[in-house]
Amino acid sequence: MTADAAPSARAPGERAASGRSHPIAWLIWTRLALGVVTLFVVSILIFAATQLLPGNAATAVLGHNASASAVRTMELRLGLNKPAVTQYWDWLSGVLQGRLGTSLANGQSVWSLVGPRLLNSLVLVVLAGVIGAVVGVGLGMFAAIRRDKPSDHALSVGTLAVTSLPEFVIAIFLVIIFSTVLWHVLPGVSPLESTSGALKPWQDPRELVLPVAALVIVIVPYIFRMMRAATIEALESDYVEMARLAGLSPVRVLLRHALPNAVAPTIQVIGLNFLYLAGGIVLVEFVFDYPGVGQGLVNAVSDRDIPQIQFIVLVLATFYVAMNILTDVVTLLATPRRRVAR
């Protein structure tokens, strides 16, 4: 992800909206239409990419057992002997009728395989995103008030240091500190296992602690830095100066006058971080053996399991599109001067 993604305070689609319907409704509709086109293009690209990968589901499933005759039998069983275009059409027409199909790797329905994983990842992303946003915004404001004091410098240097570490390194550090070497207080892996089958994430919250912590540590620096910069800018502005001179309490100045103006660019960064989380959880899930979509996608790709790959990628793409729209809408709502139709 881009560390210093420029906070675009200008809402895309705004110009096009001039003189027409309410800008927010217009933005949502055009974005949704574009989103559907995006998903369609993505599905074609993914399908084409899987065709270019060496091997297919039959050889991947058979592995060492992939003798010529076994591969032929398996290809017939899975329908891989049909032309690629036919295979794609079969998949697409199935999806349009609400059938996600069955996994080529193990014959189970794609929904039954991916559904629980989606839920697991969603829990991870939402928890990490919300905690990360709250912590990042809080620390950002704190540092802005304490600008150029030791605590501000410590926070800035600390977050900068963390930014330079990839997420799996942070994850492994956490495991070393809390599970395997220094202390043995938290589970080092989070497979959500039990004696009766897979658990839901909230059934064993201890297993969520380290994966969520790793992701929070990754996203907090970006939110923190944006929030700090935006708050400082707001605090230096004339109207805050005015409010101060008018004798308002520092807390009221900060919360009522500075914060609303600092929050718009930060929302963009929070949105970007949610987008990052949707992809960034892959490595963290891998380190913790957490049964989420990231791990599912890795498995599906190595199995050349096209129906599963397609579904997971489409869900991720939908998440991207939806988060982008949501971020823009929230930014508009947080920026009063931009939400009036002109």
Partner: protein, 505 residues
């Protein structure tokens, strides 16, 4: 205790098997508890189907759920399981199998001859892996002579049928008539409870198991898939996994801090495969030179910290038919150079295709490349993913690697070194060798058959297409509270995933 006695037998046997970290016997085995097994080697295409197993985690589940007619003991020798006897006729064209009485499936149905017929037919009809061992069995002629006796006719003599039914790769777990893999039922020591491919599976003890000599003890068995060794070892150290499999030598110190290490000399192999029908390996002198390039002790030291047994380019070291009198090949760079010179291949450059398909494969490829430099041979490594390795070019690579679980010699030949073998990766086709094989499988007398097998092994050793530098060990970890863990020579982890004998102190 079963583990301890098996160990004693292991130590005194003449086969080259050694054992480290003897499992400590702590009192009498007791029932109860849940064992968490953290295993690597699984994928999203994992299965609980008795006949579709491919990877380690599949076999862990399959061994828990199903029994075959005949299996291996811990020394990799044949041991009758569901069969009480297997007798051939004079020319080995008809086998008569007598089943053990009083065995029931997990659903309460008694084991009968019809189930064996159903199982073998299912394997052949669907072309599952086991079908390659049943090629000469006439499945249409299978007949139940009575409820516990099956007649197995063969199209051609097949004296090695019991041997061909023992290997894990082609494991022929007996399933009941009408078997549905969605609700897997077998006769094994554990009953199915739940399964999520690539994630986890759970099993409960079969209280009606036919073999009560040593277990099953555990109430519940939970098998969890781990994507790699790091997370697996983390799970072990933080107490979330009680037993872990397929470790590399580098993990040993960390694992030892939290539990015990189980090292076993396996008979499986991770050979280099040279295609004898393609240049430069179509010249036997080049193949000889490549085998002489290997400093085998160094390879074993660098890859497994000195564990495992030395290889001599002939497979199946624990088979009684294996010829231990063939002199051990050692590194001889001077001779390798002169052979290459005689073949006109001085300064040869080859590409070696390697992938992370088994413990140590990539590392031994790197070591080989370095050792080859001394003989003036440039080995360019091409590392591919295991999916690509087993993709469209599998069995076609000119110079590559592979891995095999342990199998007896003649069944291994049937799989790998005959023109009709399904996995003839070296493209080996030697008329004298083929003829010897036909003779061997028509020979019921084990002494006469061993003599023929030794002739074939002499050919393998002198001009074959495999380089077998060592037989890799299996290195596993088990928590201090886990008892009844014993090593095996069959090359599968954790005593061939022998959860039946494990109990918790």
């Amino acid at each position: 205790m079963g583990g301890a006695s098996a160990l004693a037998a292991c130590g005194s046997s003449s086969s080259p098997s050694s054992v480290s970290s003897a499992p400590a016997a702590a009192g009498k085995a007791r029932k109860g508890g849940t064992l968490h097994a953290g295993l690597t080697g699984g994928t999203g295409s994992d299965t609980v189907d008795a006949h579709r197993g491919v990877d380690n985690v599949d076999f862990a589940r399959i061994i828990a759920l199903y029994d075959a007619l005949i299996a291996y003991d811990l020394q990799a020798q044949n041991k009758l399981a569901l069969a009480e006897s297997m007798e051939p006729n004079k020319d080995a064209t008809v086998w008569t199998v007598r089943l053990r009485p009083g065995v029931t499936f997990h659903n309460g149905k008694p084991l009968s001859a019809e189930d064996v017929i159903y199982t073998l037919t299912r394997i052949v009809k669907n072309n599952y892996a086991g079908a390659s061992s049943l090629g000469s069995v006439d499945v249409h002629g299978l007949k139940a002579l009575d409820t516990l006796t099956v007649r197995i006719p063969c199209h051609s003599p097949y004296a090695t049928l019991p041997d061909a039914m023992t290997g894990y790769y082609y494991y022929m777990g007996i399933v009941p008539v009408g078997y549905d893999p969605k609700h897997p039922v077998g006769t094994g020591p554990f009953k199915f409870q739940s399964f999520t491919p690539g994630q986890q599976s759970t099993f409960v003890r079969n209280d009606h198991y036919w073999d009560t000599s040593d277990g099953p003890y555990l109430d519940t068995l939970v098998i969890t898939d781990y994507p790699d060794e790091t997370s697996q070892v983390n799970a072990f150290v933080s107490g979330q996994a009680d037993v872990i499999n397929l470790l590399s030598a580098t993990s040993i110190p960390q694992v030892q801090q939290a539990g015990n290490i189980l090292t076993a000399d396996g008979g499986g192999m991770t050979p280099f495969t040279m295609r004898v029908d393609q240049a430069p390996f179509n010249d036997p002198r080049v193949r000889q030179a490549f085998r002489l390039i290997c400093d085998r002790p160094q390879m074993r030291d660098l890859v497994f910290g000195g564990r495992g047994t030395m290889g001599n380019d002939v497979f199946s070291p624990f088979d009684p038919e294996f010829d231990h009198s063939i002199p051990q090949r050692t590194q001889d760079i001077a001779q390798a150079k002169s052979l290459l010179k005689a073949a006109g291949q001085e300064g040869l450059t080859v590409q070696l295709v390697t992938a992370d398909i088994a413990q140590g494969t990539i590392r031994v490829a790197q070591v080989f490349a370095q050792q080859a430099a001394a003989a003036g041979v440039t080995v360019n490594l091409r590392q591919v993913t295991s999916t690509e390795f087993y993709g469209n070019n599998y069995l076609k690579w000119t110079f590559a690697q592979d891995y095999w679980y342990y199998s007896k010699y003649l069944p291994q030949v049937a799989q790998a070194t005959l023109p009709v073998s399904p996995f003839n990766e070296t493209h080996w086709n030697d008329p004298a060798y083929n003829k010897l094989y036909s003779q061997a499988i028509a020979t019921v007398d084990p002494v006469a058959r061993t003599a023929i097998a030794h002739e074939m092994q002499a050919i393998d050793h002198s001009i074959g297409g495999y380089i077998i530098p060592y037989f890799p060990p299996t290195i596993d970890g088990y928590a201090k509270k886990v008892m009844g863990v014993a090593p095996t020579n069959v090359g599968l982890s954790l005593g061939a995933y022998n959860f039946k004998a494990m109990w918790l102190a």
